[in-house]
């Protein structure tokens, strides 16, 4: 996997964060704002990160896409200086995030079990703004995060979507250059998710660099410039959303059959199969050989449908292909 430079026009259009700097300084700004080298981290027996290399480029929205337990949150923690890697290195704005210096340029929306509920939205943001050297004016934070209407409510009185917006506000209030959004829309309904997406797009328009983790492929597709697919602590695929989709696009076969689900699963080329009401849904790389095999085994096969796989199925195919490769290599 090679590193492509951001096209120059993209840097200039996107990057407003150092608009006040002399042009020469702007040109010299390097493309990479954060990177990791051979990052390894385990919790006891569980390997969270396995030799992970990544680079976050200035002004991009990079999505880390992966199932639960893929190591996304651990990676964010390492880049924020919250967890120490076992080996390998992480660098954010050219320094080790553990030094405690770089946090003034970072914002983070993390998954939190419980936020102090008795403080009002305004009070939470007033406090977090005070941590940063050059925070946004409070009203601007409220406006971007959609908190203006609820700024005088206590955190404990808010709905799930509103709570997420407060955490989003906490991430942006310091006017950081690099933002980490860890599963920002998990548990939100469709409407709240769309709202969060539009708020994230405001950050991109302002030239911020964003690292987003998600396990929704459509979210990564909607927001990201670049997607890294993570599985079991390692990068299994990297590319633009279009590339990721085209690489992963398999076919989906739907049919009713007298065959047992185990038997279908054993057919070569079947990535996964699930029973859906009285029909089976198969994810495959190529449909024709599988259909041929199915018809041979079950002449009464009916209701046959072959479609392009959806995004979630594509994602499944990506991570499963990788697993198969890994097994083959051993």
């Amino acid at each position: 996997m090679s590193t492509a430079f951001l096209p120059p026009h993209q840097v200039q259009v996107r990057d407003l964060s150092n608009a006040g700097m002399p042009r020469s300084a702007r040109v010299q700004q390097p493309a990479s704002v954060a990177c990791t080298r051979n990052l390894k981290k385990s919790y006891g027996e569980i390997v969270a990160l396995h030799d992970l290399n990544l680079e976050v480029r200035r002004g991009e929205l990079l999505a880390l896409l992966g199932p639960n337990g893929a190591g996304k949150t651990t990676l964010v923690q390492v880049l924020l200086g919250l967890a120490r890697p076992d080996s390998g290195s992480a660098s954010v704005f050219g320094v080790n995030p553990f030094g405690g210096q770089v946090q003034a340029r970072l914002g983070a929306m993390l998954q939190v079990g419980r936020v102090p509920e008795t403080l009002k939205v305004r009070e939470h943001l007033d406090l977090f703004s005070s941590y940063y050297p050059n925070p946004l004016p409070l009203d601007e934070t409220f406006q971007i995060a959609g908190l203006t209407e609820i700024k005088d409510r206590r955190y404990g009185e808010l709905s799930g979507g509103q709570k997420q917006r407060v955490l989003f506000g906490i991430a942006i209030c310091g006017n950081p250059d690099l933002l980490f959004l860890d599963e920002p829309t998990v548990g939100l309904d469709v409407e709240a998710r769309r709202l969060m997406w539009s708020q994230i797009r405001i950050l991109i328009e302002r030239g911020k660099t964003v690292l987003l983790t998600t396990h929704y492929l459509n979210e990564a597709d909607a927001l990201a410039d670049r997607i890294l697919v993570l599985d079991k602590g390692a990068v299994v695929a990297e590319g633009t959303p279009a590339e990721i989709k085209s690489r992963a696009m398999g076919k989906q076969i739907r049919c009713t059959s007298r065959l047992a689900i185990e038997e279908i699963r054993q057919i070569a080329g079947v990535l996964s199969v699930k029973a859906d009401r009285n029909a089976f849904e198969l994810q495959v790389n190529a449909a024709e050989p599988v259909v041929r095999e199915l018809l041979q085994r079950d002449p009464w096969l009916a209701d046959l449908e072959v479609t392009n796989a959806g995004l979630e199925e594509a994602f499944l195919a990506l991570t499963q292909n990788h697993n198969a490769d890994a097994k083959g290599g051993n």
């Binding site: 919790y43 919250l82 704005f93 003034a104 419980r114 403080l119 406090l127 941590y131 940063y132 906490i170």
Partner: protein
């Protein structure tokens, strides 16, 4: 992924002095606001010592030595109150905020960790001052307590300063207890400890073994300092011995907490 990248130059704008002061003040202010808005916390830390004082110090005393009893218990229940505030307000709230991920959100920001801890200490100091003033008022109004103004100030000062060793203890508990079990852990530690230190029943009526045990317990040393101030220490020992013991406790618990803090960095889960 073979990449050749040049690290971005780190340019971190520094926080000005006035902004730094404002930060510490805001952290303390919101910690206090947060605590006063939790009725369970405000009520239990203030009402329980007050209730014990009314029961043990005023209602149960003999008519003949009612005034002495009320003065004695003012010192020991004040110590009990200070301890409750520091162990619950510092220990339990730290354990919860740490265990539920809130401390992590704060640590991901440029907040100086010292601001977080000093704010909790500040809240403990304010709450113990309130408790002491309430106990003192009740003692004067209903227990016949009469203290020279300077003595009363000294007593309140000693007990409020006692927030420091117990906050250190709370800090250590906060780094080792789980959020759900922290209240139980604190109760298991501080109720027996206050009994064994003679806060409810004077040490002189406790068995010998317990009396020896008391000398290694921090509430014993704080209560002796407070009793010294009101002239009621059973065997007045030099105050510096108790101060040293409390200092040693503080350092021990700070050391434990520092170990827990380091351990956290490696253990974060997610």
């Amino acid at each position: 992924m073979a990449t050749t990248t040049f690290p971005a130059v780190l340019a971190v704008p520094r926080r000005s002095l006035s902004r730094t002061i404002a930060l510490y003040a805001k952290e303390a202010k919101y910690e206090l606001i947060n605590k006063t808005r939790i009725p369970v916390y405000a009520l239990s830390t203030i009402a329980i010592p007050l209730m014990f004082y009314v029961l043990f110090g005023i209602v149960l005393g003999n008519a003949s030595d009612r005034r002495d009893n009320a003065t004695y218990m003012l010192a020991t229940m004040g110590c009990f109150g200070t301890m409750a505030v520091a162990l619950f307000g510092f220990g339990v709230s730290l354990a919860m905020e740490r265990g539920q991920g809130w401390l992590q959100v704060k640590r991901a920001s440029p907040m100086p960790v010292s601001a977080y801890f000093l704010a909790k200490l500040f809240a403990a100091v304010v709450f113990s001052t309130v408790i002491m003033l309430l106990l003192l008022s009740v003692g004067i109004a209903f227990g016949g307590v009469r203290l020279p103004f300077a003595t009363a100030v000294e007593l309140v000062g000693i007990l409020v300063a006692g927030s420091i060793p117990f906050s250190a203890m709370g800090l250590a508990i906060g780094y080792f207890a789980k959020p759900n079990s922290a209240p139980a852990v604190v109760n298991l530690i501080y109720l027996p400890m206050s009994f064994c230190s003679g806060l409810w029943i004077p040490l002189s009526v406790l068995p010998h073994g317990l009396r020896a045990l008391a000398t290694i317990l921090p509430p014993y040393h704080l209560s002796q300092l407070a009793l010294n101030a009101v002239g009621m220490a059973p065997n007045p020992t030099p105050a510096w011995g108790h101060v040293e013991a409390l200092l040693a406790c503080t350092l021990l618990f700070l050391g434990l907490a520092a170990w827990g803090y380091r351990r956290d960095e490696g253990k974060l889960y997610g």
